[in-house]
Symmetry: C2
Subunit: 342 residues, 2 copies
């Protein structure tokens, strides 16, 4: 992703809600990453003091957290996201240290943000922000999360480019340094036309997962995180394997197989060097809080025994990492995750 951003003359500001890890942050720095994105002030706090030039909290600012924001902004360059007048006004009054902000633009699927043509609201936010010398407008942020649901990513990016381009042209006279940022893994993975968008902020790409494989963002061989699960029982006649691995480990994100069966995670064979992708697929067909049941291939049934440890490629790696709260590298090193701090 760093290479791709460079090729398109864009700044990559990866979203660390996926890895939530200082160690992974250090690896990112080796690729020239200097700024990161997070999704909560708690997560921003976790990354403070790690040498980041800026930490952007890509979530509509929660006005109950201005005290905490003031604390963090004393020693760390922070930016937030604003989408309404009320929060902007409150923040403008309460800020004690400089903080940047992006205005989030609704990408068209209605999760969050200002509608792209709602200039009245955009200008109301900018006006309220000007009442404080602490609140610095950085630009427009757009998360085209509907690339997760739509086949036609090119069309979504045509619209995203056009929206951000229009906004930049409209406001660059008054704000010559404003930038535009787009950020979703499916789009950033496959799109090759970013126009004059300045920055990209995908997160999931750091690990990918089976959802991204399903969406065509990556190949299954590129998924970089797996849950290790012990086999506790085998029902050969039913072709089922019971593992200790359920909703509290994987979360409950799910894909649907062509025959309608649910898939809560894909089985891989763990090896000394990592894992291999089976020739015959096996996957988790059901999970409860702690239990998982694998629909097992003949290949898997022929080799597995109780007490073995299998790998499961998660459907949604961000959620699985958040559930587990730490990682183990292939060399046996424990890698930190913010959740362990809670």
């Amino acid at each position: 992703m760093a290479d791709k951003a460079k090729r398109h003359h864009m700044k990559l500001v990866p979203h660390f809600k996926t890895a939530q890890s200082h160690q992974v942050g250090e690896w990112a720095k080796e690729y020239g990453i200097r700024e990161i994105t997070v999704s909560s002030i708690k997560m921003a706090e976790y990354f403070c003091g790690q040498g980041w030039e800026n930490i952007h909290i890509a979530f509509p600012f929660n006005p109950l957290e201005s005290k905490k924001l003031n604390e963090l902004a004393k020693h760390q360059s922070i930016s937030v996201q604003l989408i309404n007048e009320a929060v902007t006004e409150k923040l403008a009054k309460e800020l004690e240290n400089p903080v940047g902000f992006f205005i989030e633009i609704d990408a068209g699927y209605g999760r969050t943000g200002v509608e792209v043509t709602d200039f009245g609201l955009i200008e109301a936010i900018l006006r309220k922000a000007k009442s404080s010398d602490k609140l610095k407008f950085k630009g427009f942020y757009l998360h085209p999360g509907h690339t997760y649901y739509t086949e036609d990513k090119n069309k979504i990016y045509d619209e995203s480019r056009a929206a951000l381009n229009m906004l930049k042209n409209k406001y660059r006279t008054e704000y010559p340094h404003l930038v535009t940022r787009v950020g979703d893994t499916p789009g950033c993975s496959v799109i090759e036309e970013f126009g004059d968008i300045d920055e990209m902020g995908p997160g999931n790409f750091v690990f990918f997962d089976m959802m991204q494989v399903h969406l065509g963002s990556c190949k299954i061989e590129e998924v970089a995180v797996a849950l290790a699960v012990p086999v506790v029982d085998i029902k050969k006649e039913r072709k089922e394997i019971l593992i200790h691995g359920g909703g509290v480990h994987l979360a409950k994100d799910v894909l649907t197989e062509p025959d309608g069966t649910k898939n809560f995670g894909e089985v891989v064979y763990l090896t000394e060097e990592g894992w291999t992708i089976p020739l015959q697929r096996s996957f988790l067909k059901s999970i409860s809080q702690e239990h998982g049941i694998i629909k097992a291939s003949d290949e898997l049934l022929a080799k597995v025994k109780v007490g073995d440890v299998l790998g499961i490629l998660p459907i949604h790696s961000c959620m699985t990492a958040d559930c587990m709260g730490s990682y183990l590298s292939l060399s046996g090193e424990k890698i930190d995750h913010a959740e362990a701090e809670k």
Copy 2:
């Protein structure tokens, strides 16, 4: 539930996978609870040394954890669940301290356990266990989890009672102290006919949740845990409220409304004394990792403003508690949860 168990002359051994809390354990002791159930050895460890007469790990024993089991069993009475010969044999060889075991019986929905008529397997497990003087047979455990999916809980309990009764009669000559245990919140909440089942082990009842309301286990007024979420944006024209509250807080368990809309949690109004149930319903119609969007009633829209904190009754309280890793009581006291130890 303690009253109900007493009324039916049954021992209540609550499942602490829901609360996962020492403090809630202390409250349980006030109701005469002396033994508890957990779902992993990690959770058993959390409850060791808290004065429990026995901690039962209601999960098919993971043969990779016999070393940890030996450590815990030095100072704490523990029991485990066995469902196959291989693990029983390994455990019989490796145990250094006495440990009880239940044989888990498949309740008929195929998640886990020995089929009720598979006497060959039951006797093979008992035979392997006898090769060690450390492994003590306690009885049969049956979790009728299909009460979550089936209208006819009475029929399920007719079958469960019959199965456990048959097994008790068959094996009580050789094992005069064997007991039978059943444990699921929907059944234990509504069933009034337990026959000669000795023990009940439900978990979720300690908080209940919207799934249990949906199943008829409780009334919405009986749900005893809520997620507090800040309102970060309001779209009046769309009747939507954006909150900071998503999959990493609530988990992604979901109910479906009669009109097909998804429901990830029910809105309540927080008050000084707890919360009140709105006259007009509002609920979370979609969530992502950190975001939640409420489908808001006119009543809610008329009173809510950005910066308010709303309550969300979870669909699955066990999962939500596990995500959050601690509780706040109504008097502002922080209540522990095992996840914070991870």
